[in-house]
């Protein structure tokens, strides 16, 4: 199988380049893209990429496979390879540190902006802040994000304004806390999102929904934030 891998070592290379490597796949055995990378690294130990849990939980190995963002550890090679060829690139839009490793500072800066933690100005109860099953169910489809960055780096609005547009991952988390019955900072959270960029740069392209490895729907969450902003502002 022909694998074309994005290679860039800023200490050595003047510019990034795609380097072809070939690899024999075992007969009758399905490999994940991460397995393929491990085998390529045996051929060339200088190949760099992030990985950790190898089961789609840690979100470390988000990369671009034949043009589609996803987690290398849970993406079967047969699902992304086309006519025996596979191109592996770093997540688009973010600065490359080396090979498939990107600098995710902009992504996490935006995540931090939405204050992704519970804010409650009421005195804490003796034991815990309880929710009804219905209130808890409001958080389904929101809390499962693993911050792999696949969605935000597939979003053209995030490519264009990574310093101003919060991006789908951050906005999914923003809505996760807006929808939380225990949070009392909704008005401030919404005020922080009301500018022309933070939320309203979303153009509904839905690349985020298309690539999310956890099957989440940031576009729907963004729509609900807009709805809350309209209701608050009118």
């Amino acid at each position: 199988m022909q694998v074309s891998v994005y290679r860039y070592d800023p200490d050595v290379d003047e510019a990034p380049q795609m380097r072809d490597m070939s690899i024999d796949l075992p007969e009758g055995k399905e490999l994940m893209v991460l397995d393929l990378l491990e085998r390529l690294k045996e051929q060339d130990p200088s190949l760099s990429y992030r990985r950790s849990c190898r089961e789609g939980v840690c979100g470390s190995d988000g990369i671009n496979m034949n043009g589609l963002n996803g987690l290398a550890c849970i993406t079967p090679v047969s699902q992304v390879a086309k006519r025996g060829k596979l191109a592996l690139r770093p997540l688009p839009g973010l600065p490359v540190i080396r090979d498939l490793v990107v600098d995710m500072s902009q992504f996490f800066d935006q995540f931090e902006k939405v204050r992704p933690y519970l804010i409650n100005d009421q005195p804490p109860p003796a034991q815990e802040r309880l929710q009804s099953p219905e209130e808890r169910a409001e958080l389904d489809g929101l809390y499962e994000c693993i911050l792999c960055g696949c969605c935000s780096t597939a979003c053209p609005s995030f490519w264009w304004n990574p310093d101003k547009f919060v991006g789908p991952a951050g906005l999914l988390q923003a809505y996760r806390f807006l929808a939380d019955s225990r949070d009392t900072a909704s008005a401030e959270r919404l005020r922080d999102l009301e500018d022309p960029f933070s939320v309203f740069r979303c153009r509904g392209i839905m690349n985020c929904v298309n690539v999310c490895p956890k099957g989440l729907n940031p576009t729907r969450a963004i729509g609900k934030i807009r709805g809350l902003l309209v209701r608050q502002g009118t």
Binding site: W160, D195, P196, F197, V199, F200, R201
Partner: protein
């Protein structure tokens, strides 16, 4: 974060202006379509009568203003998406200002010409 050149300096207000102006333009298009479909073989006098009526004159001016507001929000968005230092380096600010001044001028001429046109029609 506000941008001095956005229409309302608020994402929410720009969002609402764009939707409301789209509704006005959709209604105006439907109004024109139904007029042209119902009336076959129109002559100049009938057209002047239709567009010169007080209600149609007000509706047309509203449509012109809606086009300008809708257009400005859209063009401003396109400019802030594409004309950025990432692509144009240090020249980006100057280029974007020139683009925005150009857009504003075009839209101003369009509004002035549109209002003047409907104002000049005999009532």
């Amino acid at each position: 974060m506000t941008q001095v050149t956005s229409l309302a300096r608020s994402g929410l207000a720009d969002f609402l202006i764009q939707r409301l102006s789209a509704v006005v333009l959709a209604l105006y298009t439907l109004c024109l379509l139904s007029f042209f479909l119902v009336n076959d073989g129109l002559d100049h006098r009938q057209l002047v009568e239709f567009f010169g009526s007080a209600s149609m004159r007000a509706f047309s001016v509203l449509a012109v203003l809606s086009t300008a507001a809708h257009g400005w929000v859209g063009l401003w968005t396109v400019g802030t998406d594409y004309i950025r230092p990432h692509y144009f380096g240090a020249r980006a600010v100057v280029l974007r200002m020139a683009y925005q001044v150009g857009c504003a001028l075009l839209l101003f001429i369009y509004v002035w010409w549109g209002i003047r046109l409907f104002w000049m029609l005999p009532g």
